[in-house]
Symmetry: C2
Subunit: 266 residues, 2 copies
Amino acid sequence: MTTRREALEMIGIATGSVLLGSIVTGCATTKTGNSNGYAVAADGKTPGFPWPYIKLDPVNCAERAYKAFLEGHCMFGSFSGIVGEYAEKMGAPYDSFPFPMMKIGAGGGGDWATLCGSLNGAMLSISLFSRDPKPLVDELFGWYQKEPLPNYHPSAKPRVEITVTSVAKSPLCHVSVSRWCKSAKVKSFSMDRDERCAWMTASVAKKAVELLNAQADGVFMGNYPLPKHVQECRSCHDKEGIYENTRGKMECGTCHFSLGTKHPEI
Amino acid sequence: MTTRREALEMIGIATGSVLLGSIVTGCATTKTGNSNGYAVAADGKTPGFPWPYIKLDPVNCAERAYKAFLEGHCMFGSFSGIVGEYAEKMGAPYDSFPFPMMKIGAGGGGDWATLCGSLNGAMLSISLFSRDPKPLVDELFGWYQKEPLPNYHPSAKPRVEITVTSVAKSPLCHVSVSRWCKSAKVKSFSMDRDERCAWMTASVAKKAVELLNAQADGVFMGNYPLPKHVQECRSCHDKEGIYENTRGKMECGTCHFSLGTKHPEI
């Protein structure tokens, strides 16, 4: 009689089977935590959620993200760049994730131009691997709002050479694309803009993996706190402010061009 | 000697194993299509991507979404409401999806108040089940922008009775929350607002499942085309417009309060 255990080992998915069960319940049967928020399997075989992170190479992920963008655009690109790289290293059952579901995030979600798809995919990747994802997401979004991007040049010959960067001042696709198109003096459905978004996807994937690695090493430090003017707006309008009538961390002035005559001077 | 096939059957995951393989490659070994865009497994065991949709009960999904919100907020709520209901019916390997990864989408993504988390979770659910998800996402987002919401009352006794609805005029958390708080005259981090978002999550999950069911039945019809004034803006500023300097489908006037003096009369 072959035992269940032997049967599992025979098909080489003992680890996977236990993992599937542990993911469903959301907790591992045997695990310990480390100082930077990751699940660590005591026996190396029974990780729970989040998936046990192994440090990835940021450049490899950026390259993979670039190629994935060409197949399924921005959200699929960054998610596949990171989680696809991981799945290739880890094999089953991690590679069974239904990656194509992320394709809908293109163009800021079904082309609605809301949250930049590369950020959406990277945010979910971070969430899949970290027990403490929010500081990393804050850092990633803060970096995206403030840095001249894209800042990653793919190794393959690009469809168009991108020479212009812009500061998005927002995590929203609509604003990010518009500002770059204005800087580059190109149209929003041009090949230039599409290639820029492919480079953005690679840039975001690389940054997200750098953040995951820093957290895994216990050396993560945030360099992109909310700007002072956003903190000032939030001090009245966000949690515990005198008005407390909204929520958010996006740049305020990007949409609120004018505060109107009733608003006090700031 | 136990064969690989017998070993698989012994642990009851033969179907699952084949499925996992087919998800990885993104195509089923044996499948046929139907008229409304769904993958249908010829033998009922080898579905590919998208996951083979079975019609779900919108009210059951709304109830599940409401409960899931209380556990993990909006994006986790709508995604678990829909895909969790499906996973419970379908079992392995569908129930191995790492649902907790969606928790990061709360508050419009890490509390950044970008894309409403309930929309993000519903969008990905639709993408997981439909070969033609974009018309459904367009309809869902268009409905969310235009309808007085929330419109679903959970069967369980709510933490607060929500009596006020508002029209979001945007798929963005920041705008949606602010507008509701103004209508309800409550603070943005109050229990009222949190309960409203739980009802919103249930409302969105219900609507998304109604759309999936309509597509599965071949009777999907869009009732929320882009408003005329958005189409007018897009005719100059979006794809193939004379400026073609941006992209998006969101309500324009919600952020662009004033067009400035240089813009022609519209």
